[in-house]
Amino acid sequence: MKMTGAKMVIESLNEERVDTVFGYPGGAIMNVYDEIYKQNHFEHILNRHEQASIHAAEGYARSTGKVGVAIVTSGPGFTNAVTGLATAYMDSIPLVVISGQVPTTIIGTDGFQEIDAVGISRPCTKHNYLVNKIEDLPRIMKEAFHIARTGRPGPVHIDIPKDITAQVGNFEYPKEVNLPTYKPTVNYNKRQLKKAMIAISKSKKPLLYVGGGAILANCGHEIREFAKKTNIPVVETLMARGIMGHDNPLLMGMLGMHGEFAANMAAYETDLLISLGARFDDRVTGRLDEFASKAKVIHVDVDPASIEKLVKANYPIVGDLKVTVEGMLESLKDIEFNDFSNWVALLKEYREKEPLRYIDSNTVIKPQWPIERVGEILGNKAIISTDVGQHQMWTAQFYPFSFPRQFITSGGLGTMGFGLPAAIGVAKGNPDKVSINFSGDGSILMNIQELMTCVQSNLPVINIILNNNYLGMVRQWQTMFYENRLSETDLSIQPDFKMLVESFGGLGYRVTTKEEFDAALKDAVEKKRPAMIEVIVERNEEVLPMVPNGHALNEMTLIGDIDE
């Protein structure tokens, strides 16, 4: 069928059953936007900044498991999107991001709003394309979605010059992808898996170390089954929160820099670390040469390059995590395991001795409290996004996550300004859940304009701002490691958040007591409108436990160390 390049973009999105597109128009992408005006296949959400369009597409992708789609214009439109692409790349989130480009006749002349977009996006995408010929467009669209969602997922960028979107060509959407150079491994090596299972049967203190790959591969159920049948304890990374469910007796908590004592001690004492979709990030391992130093390592990852990037793997297994864990479950019937109940009991003892806790106050709201409180009131009815900083760690620690994809956060890149736009994507993709964004008074101002998106698109995102008038995490490091020189982290002068959200047309609350918080949350949930609850919290609360930079996981600063 003959049609313009712009129409081809729309038709391709329709072929991929895309129901939501985030974006922002501009000169070089206007032909595509003209077709968006005419179509009724998908809904377009107009963000107020291209970075937010990408984060919103991420929030949508992270919470639903579908490929997120965003459309931006050339030049500044695209460069604004780069932080979003890098965020998605670091966390392996499947996205297709389409940008306009100046006409092919202008490329290379420093034209108005021209930038080498594919040159810029190369290091922060899984793959990228500049469309040179209209004949290539349907194939590239098909390949982009395929590459984004298969193997180790990731963002794919397509840069389309304006004259290509205006040209008319023949549209036939390919049925299949033909990429001889791209064949991600799905099936694990059976002999290797058998060796790994024998290693588990010989071990006395095995530990399942579960990462974000478990969420991406949708294998929460399989991992819970495997842990239950073998009685092997589990630690989760930040990106894996929700895999086990907070009340699962085998979950020893989150490990890493702000992990639980029991989880970090488990990693310290284990004799067999079974890594499932985790990548040994420095925020998890602490001092690398001391990480799980008594253990042999089974390393399962879909990406061969992740294996032995940082840690020697005694049993490397490349394969789709869901398929591999299914294989592990299958092989259980042939293998006798040790009784791990003493090991589990020891870790439970650690958990009871040094639980995750904070010291509550009657005079001021401690920042952990509103997080726990939302957990008590909404629990698994909410999907929780965060920005980056202290509030992010407290949310990871104190919210009772009960299912995968319930916790939406920027792990790898640590992007401030992520939370609100991501919560927009969550709200769009999950209308039956309450979309909550926990943010700090620093982070929220990085994409505050997205309140307008919430109001215009009628997306009832509830932003809970834990306001300590500090750039809290940096302040904490300055206090602990820079002799309290609070260089540029005092944010005493902040906007009136209540008035600010009201000026956008949303609901505003400012609370200083627990009773006010409960009332505000109840009101915001009932009214189903975009809202912002500013909670005035204790200024100097620290995120604990903490493993100082360059220390081993068993060298934690615990809450008792600070208070006494």
């Binding site: 040159g119 290091p123 150079t181 690398l288 130093s293 253990a295 390059a305 032995e308 990037k309 020697k312």
Partner: protein, 166 residues
């Protein structure tokens, strides 16, 4: 047991890698970008289309410890346009050098030395002669040193290494 030390002790090795990659714009920059972004070394790089196919072959000489070389190979394999990466173990390596020497130098010596390195005089003008030599990279390095020290060359151009498994 320690899972990490074995990497830290390992020595720096030189590795010849060939990469078969789809001919498309951006392919070279993807590969070079991978090296620069991850802080890996490229000592030399040659690239040319493979006759009668839609692929090109790149020959990359790099240095690093075992962990770095492993990562280079894995990360190259991960790039979408890369068909095959070969870590050569037993290869014939060749490099070509072109050297321009002013005509007033003792030319008979030039010819004799060049021949020892499979070299020839390629061109002679009123001002200069150009010699070429093709040999193993370490011999080309020797040859270049000798010529540099003795004949004040005007210009030296090296091709980079091409390699083939024996």
């Amino acid at each position: 047991m320690n899972n990490f030390n074995h990497y830290y002790d390992s020595e720096t090795i030189r590795q010849v890698i060939s990469v078969i990659v789809i001919n498309e714009h951006n392919a070279l920059s993807r590969i070079v970008g991978l090296f620069s972004a991850r802080g890996y070394n490229i000592d030399s790089l040659t690239v040319a289309p493979i006759t009668g196919s839609e692929y090109s072959r790149m020959t990359i000489v790099t240095t690093g410890d075992k962990r770095v070389i492993d990562q280079i190979v894995k990360q190259l394999n991960k790039l979408i346009p890369v068909l095959k990466v070969n870590e050569h173990k037993n290869v014939i390596e060749k490099e070509t050098v072109l050297i321009k020497i002013p005509i007033n130098q003792p030319i008979s010596d030039v010819e004799v030395i060049a021949r020892a390195y499979n070299g020839h005089i390629q061109n002679v003008t009123d001002d200069a002669i150009v010699i070429s030599a093709t040999d193993e990279p370490h011999r080309i390095a020797n040859f270049t040193n000798i010529m540099n020290n003795r004949f004040n060359p005007l210009e030296i151009v090296k091709s980079g290494v091409v390699a083939m498994e024996r």
